[in-house]
Amino acid sequence: MNTKTSWEFGTRQVVFGAIGAALYGALSYVTNSLFPLPAAGNVTFRPAVAVLIFFGVAYGPWVGLLAGFIGNTLGDALSGWGFYWNWSLGNGLMGMIPGLVMLAITNYKAQADIIKAVLWGLGGAAVGMLVASLTEMFVGGIDLKTALVGYFTPSFIGNAVVIVILLPILMIAFAAVASSRGR
């Protein structure tokens, strides 16, 4: 399934970047409109984040970056939020950073590889949401405390819960699909 280098950008990355972006947008739309998950305070749970991290882990950093950036931009534009470049960038980073571990994942069913992917996914969520929250200080004029407590903490906690629960399930399911395809 892996390419020779993490940073290759060919047909495979174009297609899976587009599929990742479309899945991210579609799943966000469906889960928001049909059965929004309950939230506590500002914490929201977006199951689509696990799909984004999965695409980064499985297909590399370019795919994660494109899926996060384009998926978030499309979703925001179609639902009327507008274009918040810093949150699209944050989502792109959230998908890109787990992509850096792609070459180190050899068996999607192995516990060690799953833990590795989850940890990189959490790192991606931390960096992505931190960048988006801190840039909000310049874009939205908020102070550092609001950026960290009001924006970063709830978005990171919500994403982390989703990643820890859903990413291992996606990876195990993908192992079966990948072996049956022989790629």
Binding site: T11, A18, A50
Partner: protein
Amino acid sequence: MLVTWKYRPRNTFIQSLDPRTRLIFLGCVIFALTIPEIWDYRIIIPLFIISLTLLVMSRIEWKDIKRPLLFIFILVFFIVGLNGMLSGRGGPSSVLDPNSPVIFTVPLKIPGTDWGWSVPVTISKLWFSITQIFRMLTMALLAIPIPYTMDPNIYGTAFKRMGASDKVSFTMDLALRFLPTFVRDFNITLDAQRARGYEIEKLKGGIAEKIRRLAPFIIPVVMQSTVTGEEVIDAMDLRAFGTGPRTWLKSDLKYAFRDYFIISIGIIIFIGCCALKWGFGIGGFFIPDFFTNYFLG
């Protein structure tokens, strides 16, 4: 199989425009509202009227557009509007002005107990909520008609002719084409799981259990998409994507006078909003006197 948006050719002014013109105009309005952070109703309401006019001019049949409009209205009024009114979050920090007069309080208590708290709804929060609703509708009403009035075959070409690289253009093209397909696939999977007795809306247990039990809904679509992706890659590789002449470019787009006119309006809107906000300090959040007087007499 790819599902497309319900695009059909119509003899309208909107569809006579070059697709790039519409994307550039949409971008100009979105950037005008979000980059200089416009929250002034005197700017937002005229832009809302322009968006509404363009939506009406696109002459999309009600049966086609009622579902996305309903979704947007539920999102904007009941989720964003209520959230803005109660929390005041999602906008400038001045919305949370502690000196703003309280109109009423909303008691949020755990049923059967006295535990909870009262959320004050201030004039500032209420006006912010109304402004936020119109601001979001302005952008959404411009974006909604695009999939219904723009030929899906032209997405990639439009991005390419706007200066994006082949690969980025084709990524955007594929993403826009796959989006309705995956929405359909999620709905089919949901129906299939319901037929097996899976009541996804009545998930029991804690939040972790609720997220875990979404897996039967998410996994089939995501895994099928990876298989579809391999087939699309094979098809593109067989056509030597990225190695030679761009056979996927469908037509040669040309700007007409009307395109230059609309693009000019878009640029004027963007530059005007930036100049008003950064040059004259107009466009930030404020509560008009008539609104305050309405509540304070």
